[in-house]
Subunit: 186 residues, 4 copies
């Protein structure tokens, strides 16, 4: 079984982010043939401006795009801000979407979100599904991963993912995503 090289993109910048902690939990929950690499930072990319684009894409946007292109699949793990996608994360997508060799085109994608509220970022995930459909991704369906009430699911000090039900659903998603990547690859 071929190795699957998965790029993780995290939508939160804060150090104690539950979403970042969820990304760190992925390797131990993944199938044996799935490996993970973190995306280059998106927070150093300037705000999208078509006038700037005319002079050339920022190097940081090119780096982000190159990492997407090199991956067999993508996992986006991100908080929900104000019922939709965090602006900073979205800005990276806005840049790379304008590139001639658009990096997300044809990439299998799975989504995850963690929040301290009862819905776990669900509203945001449907907006992100729309966005990434336009980008030409093949988007994995079920099971979905919503880590609601995240403050109860991670160890307070180490931020290790300790909740068994969450560990199980993430494991199931990663198994399914691995098979999905194999199935839909062109």
């Amino acid at each position: 079984m071929a190795n699957l090289n998965v790029l993780t993109i995290c939508g939160s910048l804060r150090k104690k982010s539950y979403n970042a902690a969820l990304v760190r939990a992925l390797p131990e929950l993944a199938p044996a043939n799935m490996t993970f690499k973190a995306s280059p930072p998106w927070e150093t990319i300037p705000f999208y401006d078509a006038d700037v684009q005319e002079k050339g894409f920022p190097q940081q946007a090119e780096d982000f795009a190159a990492a997407v292109r090199a991956a067999d699949g993508i996992i986006v793990t991100t908080p929900e801000y104000n019922w939709t996608i965090p602006g900073g994360l979205k800005n990276a997508f806005d840049w790379v979407s304008r590139m001639k060799e658009q990096p997300f085109k044809g990439k299998p994608v799975a989504l995850q979100s963690a929040s301290m509220g009862p819905l776990g970022g669900a509203r945001m995930q449907y907006h992100l599904r729309m966005c990434m459909t336009y980008l030409g991704c093949d988007i994995f369906g079920l099971p979905e991963v919503f880590v609601m009430l995240a403050q109860n699911k991670f160890d307070k000090d180490s931020l290790k993912l300790t909740d068994e039900a969450t560990r199980k659903i993430v494991t199931l998603q990663l198994e399914g995503f691995g098979k999905y990547i194999e199935r839909v690859k062109a």
Copy 2:
């Protein structure tokens, strides 16, 4: 009839933006008692980071919030990027949503979008409606303003809004929005 002080927030940075051109057309299409003021820039606000927030809100986010607080109503005029809200604009909302005296709470809002495609930014508007519902806004309903095929609706050189049908629907929206502000104000 009281003057209605409306803040305009534009989601595009490029100089020849059709959305910026639409904002410039508003005064001549508005009811006599409606005046407009452009929001402070959002492109100088850093990306949202809860760790930065703990040390204090950026002054540019405070300026943006103050302008929202001072308005009787808000009009957001923005392109759609990748079927949803531009990341840069959203980042401003992400910051001010964390403020104790959250500026959008209770504000009447109307939405507009222009694009060169056939849908005129419609997909984005429903995401923005969700976002601004969470922010506690009263969101104006119909008529909606979608300036599709914008390249045919504005003068190529002056970017003046020349399309009569578009001028009419914007006029109707502004009239309706004026009455809506009067009706829903607490």
Copy 3:
């Protein structure tokens, strides 16, 4: 304080429906000046067909519309089916939306949903918000009522709403909705 006559519309037909049970709990949780009346049945309205409409609206659709017109406000309490609005309930809206004196126009609306899953019908509510925005309703914002894991929130035999946290959030929503009706009425 004027009495507020609220019409309840329930999206489920089964006798032991948690959504129907939630509707039955409303009177004891509502402000003193709010009274409730159940909508006429929607399950006796035929499927929408424009050719049938040309010959005249079904009497059951007219009855449903008349009940909406007579209300000061509407509460829709409904399950989510397949991540969106139940077809049967939607069919009633499809009929009355074609009437010349469209009954939902200008009506204040609040939404509720119960489900046995972890999201409590949330995905559906955002679709219903869109639908009812088009119908010209003024839609109440926060707090939202999602009764997730409903099997744990109602008494197994009597189906009485026993969960204290749910009773509290419903009480807050009804209080807020009462004030909203007063505020936005034309």
Copy 4:
């Protein structure tokens, strides 16, 4: 190249429906290896009721499900009612979603809509994408087919699809959908 047996599901009942006319145009625009069959009627299925389901699925719902199971791919062509999915069509999905051998699971799906308005049913398509993601479908991405201002795109008498730009985009969608079916099939 294997024959692809595509089931068409039309969301409108009226005889002069533009959506039904669009379905009739598919064979002449499709790749040589794609054949079409219309779904059994959904308008004879009763409204979904879990109490009825306990006694057994209606035969008409079983017939609808069997047709879905037999197809290599599905095309749903439907109007938008009140910014979302027609209730009658949705009711058929609500029934079959409860079946043990859920018929839509793993089926490739493409969406189309026609309307007399400027957006061509776009708002509805994103709700239908969500619904069919839950049903376990693989949903075709781009190009999307929105037949806006449908009254100008079909011959007034014969209802033949005459608009060249629309014929071209439908042709492109069907070509892409054919390749998509081949690619994603398990």
